[in-house]
Symmetry: C2
Subunit: 112 residues, 2 copies
């Protein structure tokens, strides 16, 4: 019954950390090396690499080794899967409210 | 520089597991006890309780102890924070594409 969507699991897990969300925002302004990413956060290179690896596994970031440094850039994913899941959930909540609303109106009618 | 949004962290973390996403979908069809939730997944009660606790911490599910069982229902949250973050990210990607597009058109003009 459980729908396995490993890509969606990885997307939501990648977005569940504030530093990783900030890294994505930073890369939105242009590519950066691991050191350039780590510096404003006062983060160790090792810590930064770990975050970048999680983003890379979720295909949100791509990296390229250039000389002695690793350049990071945003991947092409538009978070369509996460977007669709959340939209589906919100729609389900709306439909529940509509049903409740109809039920309450119906009960009111019967009371008259 | 990192924006602490613990609620958003918990939301994305809660959604990063397929069983928890299915529990939310199931509760969308109506409230259920822990046993009723666990059964279709062939899950242990302990395992199910853990998932429900994560959803409760993210305020996506509310629970109420009734007699010997615990009844679970969807919380009122419409995932607005997660929705807004993802929309912001998609908009940022679109703006980057627009800039690239303008840049390419400009370069073409200069080549003529």
């Amino acid at each position: 019954m459980v729908q396995y969507q490993p890509q969606l699991d990885r997307t939501f897990a990648a977005l569940s950390d504030p530093t990783r969300r900030e890294i994505l925002q930073r890369l939105g302004r242009g590519s950066a090396t691991i050191s350039e990413l780590a510096e404003p956060f006062g983060m160790s290179l090792t810590g930064c690499k770990k975050h970048v690896r999680v983003l890379e596994d979720a295909e949100l970031v791509s990296t390229e080794k250039i000389g002695r440094s690793r350049r990071c850039a945003l991947g092409p994913r538009r978070l369509q899967d996460a977007h669709d899941w959340i939209e589906g959930y919100r729609q389900m909540l709306d439909e529940r409210l509509d049903r409740l609303d109809r039920f309450l109106h119906q009960s009111e009618g019967e009371e008259r």
